[in-house]
């Protein structure tokens, strides 16, 4: 693993270990399950790192830990060199705005009782004037190729693709630096996936974003990623440039994944 000296590291995960505790029916004996075991990687500013693994491999736990929702048992998560798990409340709120999640299930990610306009307003910097807010909302909507008609809709009035675009627009509206795309396009149909992938690439350039792209689907990873990490049973077993991983994988598990994805 060579760190490119010319590029700034935006996010670094060091020896991250997360254990989930399970109790038996009486709450007596505790069993621990290692969700993540000593995972380390970094992301350069402006890069797309894809984490690939099967369901249950722990890739979403990484996202949740970076987002400050699941606390690590050991290890560090450094954002621009600062440990995010040592942030105070105000720092944490500022950090949250810089790093935005887009989840697989857009339905679940949008408050069913709020209109799209209110959701986007919530994401904007509160100090802006109403005019400026409206201008920015229009800008972000056009960036994700949505009409302004959706502003007065509730989530249930939108299609799946529209909802996912609203999620992306909301993630942009906080003036974020990094998006965590946790299976963000996996639940869409193939043509829409292609469309969203193209959109994500455009947005990355336009807003100079960094992506952590989490997926089980190697085909989309091939399109979007710069570097790829393979997760298996809570361990990061291989990480490298996309071409290295796709053309000459070292780990047998990676080879297996690649073989399966050719169908």
């Amino acid at each position: 693993m060579v760190i490119n000296p010319g590029r700034q590291i935006l996010l670094e995960v060091k020896n991250l270990t997360v254990r989930y505790r399970q109790r038996n029916g009486f709450g007596w004996r505790e069993k621990t399950v290692d969700a993540l075991n000593d995972v380390s990687f970094f992301i350069h500013r402006g890069e797309t790192l894809a984490l690939v693994g099967e369901t249950g491999s722990g890739k979403s736990t990484i996202a949740m830990s970076i987002l400050h929702f699941v606390s690590p048992d050991s290890g560090e998560i450094l954002y621009s060199g600062e440990d995010v798990w040592k942030f105070k409340r105000a720092e944490l709120r500022a950090y949250h705005r810089k790093i935005q999640p887009v989840f697989q299930n857009a339905d679940e990610s949008l408050n069913p009782r709020l209109k799209v306009r209110s959701m986007l307003v919530d994401a904007l910097v509160p100090a802006l004037s109403t005019e400026e807010k409206n201008r920015r909302i229009r800008e972000y909507l056009s960036a994700v190729q949505l009409d302004e008609d959706v502003l007065d809709c509730f989530p249930h009035q939108l299609s799946g693709g529209q909802k996912q675009r609203v999620c992306i627009a909301r993630a942009l509206a906080t003036e974020s630096e990094m998006l965590i795309l946790d299976e963000a396009i996996s639940s869409q149909d193939l043509s829409l996936q292609a469309h969203l992938l193209k959109l994500l690439s455009e947005l990355k350039k336009k807003f100079s974003l960094t992506y952590l792209y989490i997926s089980h689907d190697l085909e989309t990873v091939r399109v979007i990623a710069d570097r790829v990490g393979i997760i298996k049973d809570g361990r990061l077993i291989e990480i490298g440039e996309k071409d290295e991983i796709f053309n000459s994988p070292e780990e047998p598990y990676t080879q297996l994944l690649l073989e399966r994805s050719r169908f």
Partner: protein, 272 residues
């Protein structure tokens, strides 16, 4: 919403009763306190549709006036109980940890007291009054709401839209009131509607045993008590005041059940 049969029946019942209680006392010619000793214990007739009581007062007017009191108590107590319960449940569910543990043990303690006996004790040591009854009933009715709200908050706060809201850097108050509260409203509304009925029953019970509303003020419980003194001779007093209680409580329960059906099927969160 109107298509739900239970809800429709309940709403019609409640609206009718509310309308009668609120508007009719102004239209009705009889004063509910006016005694007419020439018309003591008259059975129902055209002049007195529900008959008259032992003092010759028109029972129809008295039941309508009593309804105002009973309904006011039911609605006001429910309002306060729901407000207290919602605040405690939300704090408990959202913040977790020791505030949650402390508040929930407090709820357990409050539930440990049999409500009726507490009411009787408090009222027994003081002079029964309308305000006291409101206060005591409100203070001992919020626990169920608190538990429901806490449970709902615990589920809703794990939803991705709440996590997304936290990730937007919103304040905890904003997350709580804009993202969590609107999504737990339906169970609150349902339990509030059901509570109105049960509070009316408790109020009637207290007034019936003389610990609630005091004569000559009328509430359904006091009228019921009065009728009880000569059940065989003046059956209409007990019958009509009892019916008023039953119909109102059934009305509120129907609306509550109907609302539950409607809200559940719409959000699709819970099984209907």
């Amino acid at each position: 919403m109107w298509g739900e049969k239970t809800f429709r029946c309940g709403t019609v019942l409640i609206l009718t009763i509310l309308l009668l209680c609120v508007c009719l006392p102004w239209v009705m010619p009889q004063d509910p306190y006016a005694q007419n000793l020439e018309e003591i214990s008259q059975p129902p007739s055209l002049a007195h549709p529900f008959g008259t009581d032992f003092f010759g007062r028109d029972l129809f007017s008295r039941i309508l006036y009593g309804g105002r009191l009973s309904l006011t108590i039911g609605i006001v107590v429910t309002f306060f109980a729901v407000v207290i319960g919602t605040i405690i449940g939300m704090v408990s569910g959202y913040f977790g940890g020791w505030p949650d543990a402390a508040l929930m043990r407090f709820v357990d303690v409050m539930l440990g007291f049999p409500r009726l006996f507490i009411l009787l004790t408090v009222i027994g040591f003081t002079r029964p009054s309308f305000g006291l009854m409101l206060a005591v009933l409100s203070l001992f009715s919020w626990m169920e709401v608190a538990r429901i709200v806490r449970a709902e908050v615990l589920t809703v706060r794990e939803r991705l839209y709440v996590k997304s809201a936290v990730a937007l850097g919103l304040s905890r108050r904003r997350v709580l009131f804009r993202y969590i509260f609107p999504n737990i409203l339906s169970p609150i509304i349902v339990s509030a509607t059901l509570m109105v009925g049960s509070v009316i029953v408790i109020e009637s019970g207290l007034s019936f045993i003389g610990m609630g509303v005091q004569p000559p003020d009328a509430s359904w419980g006091t009228i019921l008590n009065q009728g009880f003194q000569d059940l065989a001779g003046a059956w209409w007093i007990t019958l009509f005041s009892g019916l008023a209680i039953v119909v109102t409580v059934i009305g509120f329960n129907l609306v509550g059940d109907g609302l539950r059906n409607i809200l559940d099927s719409k959000t699709g969160v819970r099984e209907s």
